[in-house]
Symmetry: D2
Subunit: 309 residues, 4 copies
């Protein structure tokens, strides 16, 4: 299904499962996408930064998209297509859309500085991939070192009708969400879906500021779905209760550089992945770190039986 | 009291209190340092990044140090002396030591890249301020964009006998702590105090990895003291229980850019500061953000009566 | 004399002369400013990046400004007042204006990214120093890593009537000059003086694109004056002839990090400075580098007798 | 021919010729490589930063390598294989070596900071591409923002026997060359070829400091060959004479961002390329800039008849 500006809910960032020898673990990939579908995800994002995309061969990237399309029951598949050049971006984007992807996600290259450079880059990217492909803006200054003001994001959205979603992971970002929703209320910005990243670590309040859901990873994507559902239902205290129970682990998983190792280790313990391997070069968890995750899981299990693993 | 390598415990980063018109609020400053002493802080850090130091006139900086010395009952006062040039660093360092400060904290300038540049910078800084002044290394890559390996930190410590403390706020940083303590166990690194920053957001596990305490800000420094005390006493679960109760607010306060506004607002609500003003240019909390902090405080009060404000 | 938007000509960036022991060499400072006046400079800039400003004690900074005012015969003295905080910027700016400076130069701090952050910073800086002090924008992305578009520069100029000059040292920058002059021709930008930096390495064509002169350092500021004079007189070939003769040395002096050492060594050989010392930490020329400069001077002397030293 | 540590001379960075519609101009590519062979180049580098490599489809990249191999008469072809992931780096490296390339060039990704990160990255890259492929280190801090000390370069060379060349374009870099050659003289560093970049703007002195030649672009690669030849023959003054004659144009072409447009325009005027087009997104020369290049060429023609075009 194609991604639309009305998209809402949780789109987990899928890690790419590997075998201990570095080969893609296709069985785990199938299982992973089935898991995402089963828990009620509204779509999934593959080939993101946390998907180890740059380590994949082209045929592996395509293979992952095919599996996601096959297993996610028609839910939109978002594919990260950020690349150092537009040739690679275009060919991947067109290829995955032909395979049934719902849209693509484009992050700005770290060299961009001025407002004009940023809006110009997105105009060129859209020209390169074609105006018929729904795309997601990734706004992630902490890692990409590109800072987009609300007005810059508005210009990208207004200039490019094929923009359907903003993946918002500025930090801090609550006021930015409010600013964008205010633009929309005032009529200066058309509606697009806003979903948030940063491992969900501010999802509790982001929902209250008006976002539509999450587009991020966490070893318990069910928690993201719970928070979105409860928040949409107006059950504020309940949303915060379950969120707070997970926060110690979410925070631990949100550590730059080792976060993916934490996530894969936990998902392996949960039985969703067969291995917690990363393709080289990747970081591994120390014994001390594994014990810390185990301790956090044991503590979490007192509040959420899904953590009793 | 002079800072020594055996320093241990909690050294809060003091915000600088201002009046709504931008003047330093000296009454609140007195009250603040009395508060830090009363709750059992082991010292205090003034003129840090969160102390709005670059906005202060020289006489105001000196005034703050005097108040801290007067009110902290002999506990060591750490003074941030980072400056774009060694002349300013030296004159501030020597002046505050004459006033009774316990040591100075030096952050590396953002332009440093190579290992040699970093160790060379600290050698020059020590030559500038004099080898008789105890100093603290500030290792804060997220904000300073200078990355120090454990081996670089070791070299700075081994080359400079006046280095007595590492303020560790790398992120992620747990393995770095373990690496440094392993150096010490192996005999390749003399003992210095390691205290952590990042608003305390990993203090629970940092203590378990072998740090001596915290050198950071949070609107409830008592929580930092609790965690350090319980952790040192081997009461692991209790330490995590109180830590986890505060984590939703700590996380909220740890947002870059608005964190200081959150901290001052909360400390004003607690009656420690008369105003939540920052000197210009500073960020202010939106009404939505204040309501979010109020909500977090109300939730926290269920676990910690000190938050019932 | 106060700096005005009609300022034109060459404003050399003055190096700060030091004794071998690191003390300011006041005799050389006097001689240096006399030299600048004698050769027909239209003003001078002190406490710039190449003036080793952050290494100076406050009273030394003030002393340099006093000497410049005393020796430059009423020509405008531009004083670099960039600082990490507005308190220091304001107090230095007001102090030097009281001493007879003509205006101040303000560089943006490296953390600025978005257009709004840049224009906001200048608005705050002007509020801090007062709207009565003429100021110069320093646009130097290579060193400061802040990128200002022509539209951002225009907004700063239009929003702040006390802006009188742009020190342009973007690289490449020829089209930026043309864009700004086009704004002025179209009526969307009031006239301010545009003078260029980068050690003069593009001054030949910058003049032809419409700048008013240079605000930069080079061991032969007479060359800058020659190029500006010949270019203004329409003597294009003559301007390029003398420029090209100096280019091998200018290029050598323009090396980041060691450029100041080259400049001071050459000015010492010329008898303008008594020593080529930099205050610590500073770079020194290797014997090989000195021999290279000597060789370049010998070659230059065939075209310009002033280099026969 | 495979690249060896004894490589010496000039290896021009080949621009990729395009038709005005953005297609690769294969005729011009053939002509370009024939030209490089005819003038006596010692090899050529394709798919470098100035080769617009990220804009090329995989089959186009391969096509360029094939043409270079076919036309360069057995001289070593160096292929830029820098990529955001090792999968892409490995597959391109192995493919081009099979086609007859002489070696590959690897630039560090901009995120690297510490010495260990840099040496670790090269170890991983060599593991990825295989230890049987000769490789070139690209040391280009100005663009890549990765700073390698001489000791770090030495470690990469000593740890990886397949390292055969350093493309040195640090700036300033003369002392770094001397430091590396001193390591070699002392016996702590095995010999590898050192060739320099930066558009040749310091080639005159780089030769005298001990490099083996140039690996860079300039619209008159014959000039680079002249300087290398004269310098190796000990004809110092003659080397500088021809170098200085070209310096005004070299400097103009060395402007970041527009340099490639200058180079292609000049090579088109020389009849080497049929068009001066860049594939989108690319910069174009303004009419003013073209006139400036024309003027520089006319002036150069008085010293070098090859510029009489």
């Amino acid at each position: 299904m194609r991604l639309t500006p009305e998209a809402s809910g949780v789109f987990p960032i899928a890690p790419t499962p590997f075998m201990p020898d570095g080969a893609v673990d296709w069985n785990s990939a199938d299982k992973l996408f089935e898991f995402y579908a089963d828990i009620g995800s509204d779509g999934v994002t593959v080939l993101g930064i946390m998907g180890e995309a740059p380590k994949l061969e082209p045929e592996e990237s395509v293979g992952l998209v095919k599996r996601a399309v096959a297993k996610m029951g028609g839910k939109p598949i978002i594919v990260g297509v950020s690349a150092p050049g537009f040739a690679a971006m275009r060919s991947l984007a067109r290829q995955v859309m032909d395979l049934g992807a719902g849209g693509v996600m484009i992050a700005p290259p770290p060299s961009l500085r001025t407002d004009d450079q940023i809006t110009g880059y997105y105009a060129q990217a859209v020209e390169a991939i074609g105006t018929d492909i729904p795309f997601v803006i990734q706004d992630y200054p902490l890692t990409l070192s590109v800072v987009m003001t609300p007005a810059v994001i508005r210009k990208i959205i207004q200039d490019n009708p094929s923009c359907v979603m903003l993946k918002h992971e500025d930090w801090p970002g609550l006021e930015k969400i409010s600013a964008l929703r205010k633009f929309e209320a005032e009529g200066s910005l058309r509606h697009v879906s806003i979903v948030t990243g940063n491992g969900g670590i501010f999802l509790d309040f982001e929902m209250e500021r008006g976002v539509d859901g999450a587009n991020t990873g966490y070893a318990f994507p069910e928690l993201l779905i719970d928070v979105v559902r409860l928040s949409k239902a107006g059950k504020r205290d309940e949303a915060h209760d379950i969120f707070d129970a997970h926060l110690p682990l979410m925070r631990y998983e949100q550590q730059q550089g080792v976060g993916l190792a934490v996530r894969k280790y936990t998902m392996m313990k949960r039985g969703i992945l067969a291995h917690n391997a990363q393709r080289k070069p990747g970081s591994a968890l120390s014994a001390a770190a594994k014990a810390e995750v185990d301790y956090l899981l044991a503590r979490l299990a007192k509040h959420d039986p899904r953590a009793d693993i």
